[in-house]
């Protein structure tokens, strides 16, 4: 980065106000804003342009920098998320430090919400605030840390294997860590995947074959993360592997010659025999991808008769029954009993409503929609009608949400194949009772489609379309300080702007550990996570945003308040200096939250790029402008 205008010179601020076509100038008197900005302290240039983001707009900035007229830049335009990077790039192109820049949002937060003189007044105040902050800006340098060309993927399901394969394809070494002795995760429990109808076993086998054949990928089965420290580019990880036992040993015995790559239906793809005895593996990874997956909701005893009536099962259980190749005939037969009528009940353990549904043992409700169960249920219904045409199928639903490409076809096909639909409300759900005229069970439900008329359906099997729940990752969450959403799934920084990233740099999310998603979506998310991780590791070093805490040692009295307040382990530590103990920040570990700033009574720690002095300058400018306009 060029050292031109490194922030040490007295501020010469350039203000550039955008018309945004007419988006801004139709409601804001841009000429007036420019005129008033020109009169502010330290402002040497104030200009406007129809589109500041255009090449001619950026040229204005570049010319003023290179001619020495300005050494700090304020652009007043649209939301910073759209063009902050654009203008920083233009500044860097002109040879100036790109962090000597401040943005005033006068479109989304002014011209699109206010009109008339008030809009111009507010735009003027926001520009003044940005100028106030710009006067306090200092040149910052990205934090550069060495990066290990190695990534660790936690979880060996479809998302984990996809991420591992895609990372390895970028030339990185990868450790794929899976808790069980098998790869495949929950997809191994499926028979056919939608909407392609491919056999889940074939999809998994193909993916696992790629992973197992790749010399750059080391698969650790029967393994869990036991220790974690470090930062992007250099995470220090320990993996504890334990010898398989109990059910895992029985499952491994199903694999002929313990051959890696063998798919065992409803279990997964074998990846070797596992360790003979417990062992610990130490790794240094540049990035971590979390692909820890989900769990199916387990209905509590008695929900729709589950656990009390053997004729009530879950959808994954039905899928396993239907996957049995011997299951053929005019009617479905379960445990020797012919199924004449079968009811599928949607939204079991999903979209739960406080006051209507009972919370789980942890006191929580699954208020989220699990998204995939509608299509999965309709897929099962279609398959039932196709394979067992004499078994009648009833779908009892709250709403049908077949949102994906090709998913709606299952709904249409289910209707065409004779599946009978009834719609219920959460307040009046179906009631399952034992016994019926010619059936094992009776399902009673007021049908919204029939103006609330109560239906009593004699059925031989009730299938509960159970939702997706977050896996119990508490140990991992605590160890790695992972953010968790209100729905208890792992939480990305932003669903649209940074959809697979966590606030701690170098840690990414892939698949259903983040939210309910289907197999294709999980693979997509894994690809995104792998691309993100690969992008930062491929150069051999990582450049991080410089917006991290910084200690002013002349003010620090060594109280340790910042260390106590810090949300990231080891981001701030106390070190001995000739004078006494002082706080020191590890920039690579600092998340840039600034909690330490408020904790320091001496004001000895600040967040670079977001200092209290800068905020105070903004407030001063806003108050001065607002009071002037209000007077």
């Amino acid at each position: 980065m060029s050292k031109l205008n490194n922030g040490q010179e007295p501020p010469k601020i350039g203000v550039y106000v955008c018309h945004c076509g007419g988006n801004i100038s139709d409601h804001v008197d841009v000429a007036s804003v420019v005129e008033q900005a020109g009169g502010l302290a330290n402002v040497t240039v104030a200009r406007d342009n129809s589109f500041m983001c255009s090449d001619p707009g950026q040229e204005l900035i570049i010319e003023d920098i290179t001619s020495g007229k300005v050494n700090r830049i304020v652009v007043a335009s649209c939301a910073p998320a759209l063009h902050e990077t654009t203008f920083r790039g233009a500044i860097a192109l002109a040879g100036m430090n790109p962090y000597l820049y401040e943005h005033a949002n006068i479109r989304e937060q002014v011209s699109w919400v206010h009109h008339g003189p008030g809009a111009t007044g507010k735009a003027t105040a926001l520009v003044a605030a940005a100028v106030g902050k710009a006067g306090e800006l200092e040149a910052l340098e990205p934090i550069r840390v060495e990066a290990e060309a190695h990534a660790t993927v936690l979880g060996g399901g479809v998302a984990g294997m996809s991420a591992a394969r895609d990372l390895a394809a970028q030339g990185l070494r990868v450790a794929l860590v899976e808790k069980s002795p098998f790869l495949g995760g929950q997809v191994a429990q499926l028979d056919k995947t939608f909407p392609s109808g491919e056999a889940a076993g074939e999809v998994l086998s193909a993916l696992a074959a790629q992973v197992l054949a790749d010399q750059r990928i080391t698969v650790y089965t029967c393994a869990e993360l036991s220790e974690y420290s470090g930062y992007v580019g250099s995470f220090k990880i320990k993996i504890r592997r334990t010898a398989p036992s109990g059910a895992d040993l029985e499952r491994l015995a199903l694999v002929k010659d313990a051959q890696p790559g063998t798919f065992v239906p409803c279990v997964g793809v074998a990846a070797g025999p596992g360790p003979g005895e417990a062992e610990e593996v130490a790794l240094v990874s540049g990035a971590i991808v979390l692909a820890t997956g989900f769990e199916h909701y387990t209905p509590p005893m008695g929900e729709y008769g589950y656990g009390q009536m053997p004729e009530v099962i879950t959808l994954p259980e039905l899928i396993r029954l239907m996957a049995d190749e011997s299951a053929t005939g005019e009617q479905l037969v379960v445990n020797g009993k012919t199924i004449n009528n079968l009811a599928l009940i949607h939204c079991v353990g999903s979209r739960q409503i406080p006051g209507v549904h009972q919370p789980g043992p942890d006191g929580k409700l699954n208020q989220h929609c699990s998204r995939v169960c509608c299509t999965a249920t309709l897929q099962a219904a279609c398959e039932l009608r196709e394979k067992f045409p004499e078994t009648n199928v009833f779908e009892l639903y709250r709403d049908i949400r077949t949102y994906g490409r090709g998913h709606e076809d299952y709904y249409l096909n289910a209707g065409r194949s004779g599946v009978i639909f009834a719609r219920f409300t959460p307040e009046a759900p179906p009631v399952v009772t034992q016994g019926g005229e010619d059936s094992a069970l009776t399902v009673t439900v007021p049908d919204k489609l029939l103006a609330g008329q109560e239906l009593a359906i004699g059925v031989d099997l009730v299938v509960l379309a159970v939702g997706m729940e977050p896996r119990d990752n508490q140990a991992l969450v605590e160890k790695m300080k992972l953010p968790v959403g209100a729905d208890r799934f792992l939480l990305e920084v932003h669903p649209k702007l940074r959809p697979v990233e966590l606030p701690a740099a170098g840690i990414y999310l892939a698949g259903a550990c983040q939210a309910p998603m289907d197999t294709a979506e999980a693979a997509n998310a894994a690809g995104a996570a792998a691309a993100k991780a690969g992008a930062i590791l491929s150069a051999g070093f990582v450049e991080l945003d410089p917006f991290v805490a910084e200690v002013d040692e002349s003010k620090c009295v060594g109280s340790g308040a910042c260390v106590q307040a810090c949300l990231a382990d080891e981001a701030i530590e106390m070190v001995d200096t000739p004078a006494s103990k002082r706080a020191r920040v590890n920039p690579a570990l600092c998340m840039g939250c600034g909690v330490c700033v408020a904790a320091c009574e001496q004001g000895a720690i600040e967040l670079s790029g977001w200092t209290l002095g800068q905020y105070e300058a903004m407030v001063d400018a806003i108050v001065a402008q607002a009071l002037r306009q209000g007077a």
Binding site: A129, A598, L607, D620, I622, V623
Partner: protein
């Protein structure tokens, strides 16, 4: 906008991951709200010490809305830290005779348009009722 409330700016401390994009979402929907509101972007409002808030009121800020990410905060632990700090600020505000309604913590997501406007309008009513910051102490 109420003429009295308009004299006193309302500061909105908005998190760059949640409520700042939320405020932009209100703009994208072209929904109006009073123009005496000034949104300041921050990684998390948990970085502001008590003094910052008290200084703002002393300078003439009529009300402050802290718009955080709430429990969806990407910085694990920052929200509880903020909640604790707000309690401390309330105690100091009371000590100075400032009506604590002038400071309102709330959680606004990236698409919480209605909640955003509701909070802004509520604070405007409070500022219109109370007048200049500190006037309530003088009146008492």
């Amino acid at each position: 906008m109420d003429a009295c409330a308009g004299k006193y700016p309302i500061l909105i401390l908005a998190t760059e991951d949640c409520s700042y994009p939320g405020a932009n979402s209100v703009g994208q929907a072209h929904q109006n709200y009073p123009d005496n509101t000034y949104i300041i972007r921050t990684p998390t409002p948990a970085l502001f010490p008590e003094k910052f808030y008290l200084d703002c009121f002393a300078k003439g800020v009529g009300g402050i809305i802290i718009m955080s990410c709430g429990v969806e905060c990407p910085y694990e632990g920052a929200y509880p830290a903020l909640a604790k700090r707000v309690n401390g600020i309330y105690a100091l505000m009371k000590k100075q005779g400032l009506d604590i309604r002038r400071l309102r913590p709330t959680a606004i997501c990236t698409v919480c348009n209605r909640a955003f406007i509701k909070e802004v309008n509520l604070m405007n009513q409070v500022v219109a009722e109370l007048g200049a910051p500190g006037s309530e102490a003088r009146a008492a």
